[in-house]
Symmetry: C2
């Protein structure tokens, strides 16, 4: 099983604390040692780092842990390879441009027997089930609107229906972003926390490290963190329901049903 991490905020925030705990799962506190990646949005563009080395050994992960890149939307992934070899082309998050926006996607789970539809224009570069589903999804989005971003509700409905179809092949926990929203879908394991004033101290589950958020935030800040498993052991995380699709913006869950 792979591990997912996403962050959505109302003010540019660095992910160093959460990523530090998360990266431990890439070979130390968990067995996900088949590469990792992270994408930081800056408006509709993004800056990505990928490595096929385990996160705990990767010099690039070391840089990310120590270099505070501030962003409103971040997606990270640690891989345990089941379908597709340990190669860069199968290392998530995957990225594609659609509607003049970068779209970033990370998937946890196996879609056994999933076949790429053969659609165009978006095609897989690697050979993982995860990327095939991503390409099909973006081609589906493009059918909805070939040139520009449609209403959020249309994207939501299209994604929800796609998730239901994909989940027939297995586990389809995913985080997806275009730099405006984080979309998060759960079939088995996904949880989130929203941190806002009054901020308190948080302690990592995967490493003996604490941070006092009240010292590094303002009263207006709001940050949503989404992860496969809770990243801290002294805060209350909300579990997603099975089949639930949530959309986060400005550190809040939007109501789209």
């Amino acid at each position: 099983m792979c591990q997912l991490l996403a962050m959505n905020c109302n003010t540019p925030t660095d992910i160093c604390f959460s990523f530090d705990g998360f990266a431990q799962r890439g070979g130390l506190t968990d067995e996900h040692s088949d590469g990792w990646g992270i994408s930081f949005f800056e408006e509709s563009a993004c800056r990505s780092f990928h490595d096929t080395l385990p996160a705990i050994e990767s010099p690039i992960a070391q840089l990310v842990k120590n270099y505070p890149i501030k962003s409103l939307n971040v997606i990270a992934h640690i891989r345990q390879a089941n379908i597709g070899a340990v190669e860069l082309k199968n290392t998530q998050p995957y990225l594609r441009e659609l509607w003049g926006q970068q779209w970033v996607y990370a998937h946890n789970g196996d879609l056994w027997g999933y076949k790429f539809s053969g659609g165009v224009p978006t095609q897989p570069i690697g050979d993982s089930d995860s990327e095939m589903a991503f390409c099909d999804l973006l081609n589906r989005f493009r059918e909805l609107s070939p040139t520009h971003e449609p209403e959020l509700k249309s994207i939501y409905d299209c994604l929800k229906s796609f998730c239901e179809e994909a989940a027939k092949f297995g586990t389809f926990n995913l985080v997806l972003s275009n730099g405006k929203y984080i979309f998060a879908h759960c079939t088995t394991h996904l949880c989130y926390i929203i941190r806002q004033a009054p901020f308190s101290e948080a302690h990592l589950s995967d490493k003996d490290l604490s941070i006092n958020f009240s010292a590094v935030t303002t009263k207006k800040d709001r940050v949503a963190i989404i992860a496969t498993e809770p990243l801290t052991d002294n805060e209350e995380w909300t579990q997603f329901e099975k089949g639930q699709l949530l959309v986060f913006k400005d550190g809040k869950v939007l109501d789209l049903e």
Copy 2:
């Protein structure tokens, strides 16, 4: 003016030596301090690093100088912003998937008055003339073949004709790769060198640093380096002719005319 660097080899090679000299131009030996980026191919996927900081100050550039990522095809860019703000979305190289391959592109020069054709599916994320031309080029390639990579000669002819059109708007020095070839087009400044046995010592132009390539290569290795200006001061670089488009594979220039 921006600065371009590309490498094409017959055996996976790191670019640390060339990039070390090249990065000096990002704010130290030259005035190109509006961000930089580099993409390393591993088969048809690639690993990219971008930063809006000047290359000489960037912690990411420091990582790239010290972390020997071996690749057959590399493209790097240092920006001096003329058209488009200093933001990540305008930081090259630009990347897009086409035919199930990653395509990477970096452009030096200004295309005054260039307008994006409005074509689909590939659309600009930022607002630079360089990215608009890249998107038009990929949509042109897709008209040539919607689903799969066509014969090299067709790509070459399409690219040559596109370069002639784009050059009417100004300077169109570019390097482009899909992980198999480096395509390089010159309207004003571009040069290359092919290093092969017997290897000798090279000394950087932008920094007092030498390397004895014979100590780190085998007799079979062949490496082509393409750059805006020669990177070393004790080797003979070949200047491109104006309007020339060359294709490099396995560290050699292919004959396609």
